[in-house]
Amino acid sequence: MKSKLKRAVSLVLAAGVMLSTAGCWDRIEINERIFVLGLAIDKFEPGKDVQAGEDGAEQQEEGSKQPEESPRNRLVVSIVFPNVGLLKGEGAIVSEDAKFAVSTVGPNIFEAVRQFNTRLNGNIFFGHVKAILLGEALVKDEELLMEVLDGLEREQEISRNVDVAVVKGKAKDALFIKPLVEPIVGTYIEKIFRQRKTGRFYPKNFGKVVTSIRETGGAVLPRLVVGEKEYNIAGGCLVKDRKFRAWLGELEVRAIQWLENMAGEDVISVNVNGVSVPFELTELKRRKEIWRDDAGDVNLHIILECEGNIEGYILAVDQDLMNEAFIQQVERAVEREMVAQCTGVMDKFQNEFQLDVWGIGNHIRKFRPEIWEDVKDNWQEAFTELSVDISACVKVRRVGVIK
């Protein structure tokens, strides 16, 4: 038997050598990292990019005061990160700002990030990015948009669950404002996205956006409008054929979600007997039926099965919402309203945008492969010719605590 002692000693030595000479390649202490919570990407537009940045954060590259137009300057990348020292409570050496936002220009995200490394004292870390904001100009540039999306998807640090929004105007502006409630921009945006109390924007995370672009050729992204001290995330931005196609209204986006079997808890107001009755949608189920009629045309029937509550009516002595007839009246009204909105959106997508954003093609491929065999080669055209019939079935479940 060989000496195990010798072996043990050599092992310990090897471990020691490893530790002392080579080791710790990846070690970055947590306090040496800069936790990027929000990432905003804009197209670089010369002249328009004057940003009196906070904290002396003017975009500078190699000394020039204003970034010049050059083939290297294609993107403006801005990040926001919290002042973690403040969280400790006794940050004497740090300023009182809860967050810092900086911005720089570069040919792509990665070079821009390296640019930050020359300016910031920490190691930029994207593992906790909560929101990715894309500027309007960027989305309108087909080359840059796809480049950016690919780069973001390829980067392993950035989660696929990050929320994405298109900012009307400059995405950068969103990072530089001080929101009212929560000073840290990234988590603020994330919390708006996660509350699920409204259907007025389409909360698609990054992975779903990319998947949708790959599968259907386009995607609806939420639209973010920057205010003085807050944001408004509402409506949508339609990306098709690798670039911006159109802005979508809040109600349109909501209808799109209904058709995609997603329902934020939202309120639909309908006019019943001259009174505007708010109907709170709590549950929605969508069914799709596809068949080919005698003429050989493909038919799509979409049925929305909804449940919800009546939120309010009008204060009166003889009001009675606990009344089957009245409830049915409301139900029909809501149905009409929903079908109208959905049909409008469907028309728009079929005729104007010619984009199957719901993956109806996928649905046909999955459930009616024999029909798919015929239409798959020119699905875009087939989609526009699809005869779609939308119907809704609404059930009012509760009316609140008064009659």
């Binding site: 038997m1 043990a8 070690r27 947590i30 936790f35 973690v84 940050g91 050496i93």
Partner: protein
């Protein structure tokens, strides 16, 4: 074995003890006394008392004993008094007595209970030095060895290291005889064997092997005896000496022998088929084979109700794991993978670490070492002061270090949890092993993050898997074909579920209780027993056959015998039921 093997043959060549053991006692009292006095020169604790016996004072006797090791009252009363006074009046003239005075003294003169004859004077000298008294008679070639051991000893007290909330309070003491008595009191079974040998060339320490004859695995017993006999050392001062000679792998960090102060624990282990090694002069009894699972158990587990015991066991395993990995996990996450934890937590940790001058690794090492230091300092100091050290160290230094910004508060929390968790490990030696391994894993995760942490755990596990204690895999019953024993591993199943002895440990007589019988006297009992044991192996079958005859003991014996040919190999087991039924 390794290094030690090389030295062993040389030592055996010397064999000093056996060479000397050839001096026979002479018939002359003076010669014998001279021999003793020569050998025991400058041993001022040896007392020689010469006296004469008989109505005419015609017989010369001598009493030799070591002062302090003997019960002097007993010597006075039972030896001196009975020999000197009571024989004075008897007519011991050569005409009256038949036989020699030696055997008369032996048969009727001495009123002590334990007397032996000894031919060799040097052997009797060893007895003398271990507390027996010698009575030498002029004209006879033998020495009377009187069992007169009696020295001031600690009484039976509550064991310090293994206290329980519910359970017996008695613990072993330094005197082996008391210890065997404590065992015998618990197991009044003729099958409890206590085999005594002497170990140590100079110390000649009494070492006893205790086992249940018909339960113990004979191979293990043989192996233990073999290893004990091969010990060649000058002195055995504690059972730890023996442990280091009989353990399987000397260069392993894990203890492969269990040591305990609790007689109830030893008794339970004997019933599982293990072997106890009781060493004189120490309250710590060794138990083999030992598995990691056994080392994680506490005797209290079996006294509490099984829900509680199971919960505590899971807690114990969890705490061992925590004490092993928590600082390493903290380092891996904060220094390498902050993306894994929730954002708020990451930001908070980052905030608390701002201004801390050291990397988390150094921070952890400093804190852990400080803690080990405190622990060591606390052990060496008397009780109240030790506690003060703990409070001063834990509270004051920790608080001050945080306020000074030298360490982050979260690190203090991590280290404190680790320390508490490591105290929850029931076996001290396993706890230490985990504490040392913790540094190894911390170092690995400081170099390679999560990957290093996992590699550290894997290497530890591979090492654990490669260990065996007296032929039993160290991780049994988690590994091997012994799944029914899992009822006594991570959890503690109700006693009625554990009606079989652990197959990994016991060698025979596998059924430890009759579940059906315990439920009542109704006829259904035995049927149920049969059901539950039906899937069992050869041994179970044969035991039941024996029990079925209604003779408890006979059945057990039979089972013990049947066990010998049904040893542990799988193939023979298959053949077992045939012979059993």
């Amino acid at each position: 074995m390794g290094l030690l093997d090389r030295f062993r043959p040389k030592k055996q060549e010397k064999e000093p003890s056996k060479e000397e053991a050839k001096d026979k006692a002479s018939s002359s009292l003076d010669k014998n006394l001279k021999y003793l006095k020569d050998k025991l020169k400058d041993c001022n604790d040896v007392v020689y008392r010469e006296f004469r016996v008989g109505n005419r004072q015609q017989f010369r006797f001598a009493l030799v004993y070591v002062d302090g090791l003997v019960d002097r009252n007993m010597l006075n009363e039972e030896v001196l008094k009975s020999l000197m006074l009571q024989t004075k009046h008897a007519n011991l003239s050569p005409g009256i007595i038949t036989g020699d005075v030696f055997s008369i003294a032996l048969r009727s003169g001495l009123t002590t209970s334990e007397v032996k004859e000894e031919e060799y004077i040097d052997k009797s000298m060893i007895a003398l030095l271990s507390g027996d008294s010698l009575v030498l008679v002029d004209g006879y070639k033998k020495v009377l060895v009187i069992g007169s051991k009696g020295w001031p000893s600690r009484g039976v007290q509550e064991p310090q290291t293994e206290s329980v909330i519910r359970g017996p309070r008695d613990g072993f003491t330094e005197t082996m005889r008391f210890n065997t008595a404590l065992l015998r009191r618990r197991l009044r079974d003729p099958n409890l064997k206590i085999k005594q040998i002497k170990v140590g060339v100079r110390s000649k320490t009494d070492v006893a092997l205790a086992y249940m004859e018909n339960i113990v695995d004979k191979n293990v017993l043989k192996e233990v005896e073999k290893r004990l006999e091969s010990i060649n050392i000058d002195g055995v001062l504690e059972s730890g000496y023996i442990e280091s000679f009989i353990e399987d792998r000397k260069y392993s960090i894990f203890p492969q022998v269990q040591s305990t102060e609790r007689p109830d624990r030893v008794a339970a282990s004997l019933l599982e088929g293990r072997v106890a090694i009781i060493t004189d002069n120490t309250p710590f009894v060794l138990l083999v084979p030992a598995t990691l699972n056994i080392l994680f158990q506490s005797s209290e587990d079996y006294y509490e109700r099984w829900f509680i015991a199971s919960f505590i066991r899971i807690l114990r395993y969890a705490s061992a794991f925590i004490s092993l990995v928590l600082p390493a996990v903290y380092i891996a996450i904060t220094s390498y993978h902050p993306g894994l934890i929730p954002t708020d937590l990451a930001l908070y940790i980052a905030g608390t670490r701002t201004g801390v001058p050291f990397p988390a690794f150094i921070e952890a090492i400093i804190m852990e070492l400080t803690l080990e230091l405190l622990r060591e300092a606390g052990i060496r100091l008397p009780g109240p002061i030790g506690q003060t050290i703990g409070i001063v160290g834990g509270l004051v230094i920790g608080q001050a270090a945080v306020q000074a910004g030298l360490v982050s508060p979260i690190m203090v929390i991590v280290v404190a949890i680790t320390a508490i968790a490591s105290f929850a490990v029931s076996s001290y030696s396993v706890g230490i092993a985990f504490r040392i391994l913790r540094f190894f894993i911390i170092a690995l995760s400081a170099v390679l993050g999560l990957y290093g942490l996992v590699m550290g755990l894997l290497l530890t596990l591979v090492h654990l898997c490669s260990l065996k204690s007296f032929g039993v895999p160290y991780l049994a019953p988690l590994v091997g074909n012994t799944y029914y024993e899992l009822g006594d591993a991570l959890v503690r199943a109700p006693q009625t579920v554990m009606y079989r002895r652990p197959k990994t440990l016991a060698g025979g007589n596998m059924i430890r209780m009759r579940v059906g019988g315990a439920k009542g006297t109704s006829g259904g009992g035995s049927g149920k027993d049969g059901d539950e044991g039906g899937g069992g192996e050869a041994k179970a079958g044969s035991v039941k056959a024996g029990d079925g005859n209604g003779k408890g003991k006979a059945g057990e014996r039979k089972a013990g015998g049947g066990r010998d040919n049904g040893q542990k190999s799988g193939g023979q087991q298959e053949g077992g039921p045939g012979t059993g039924e």
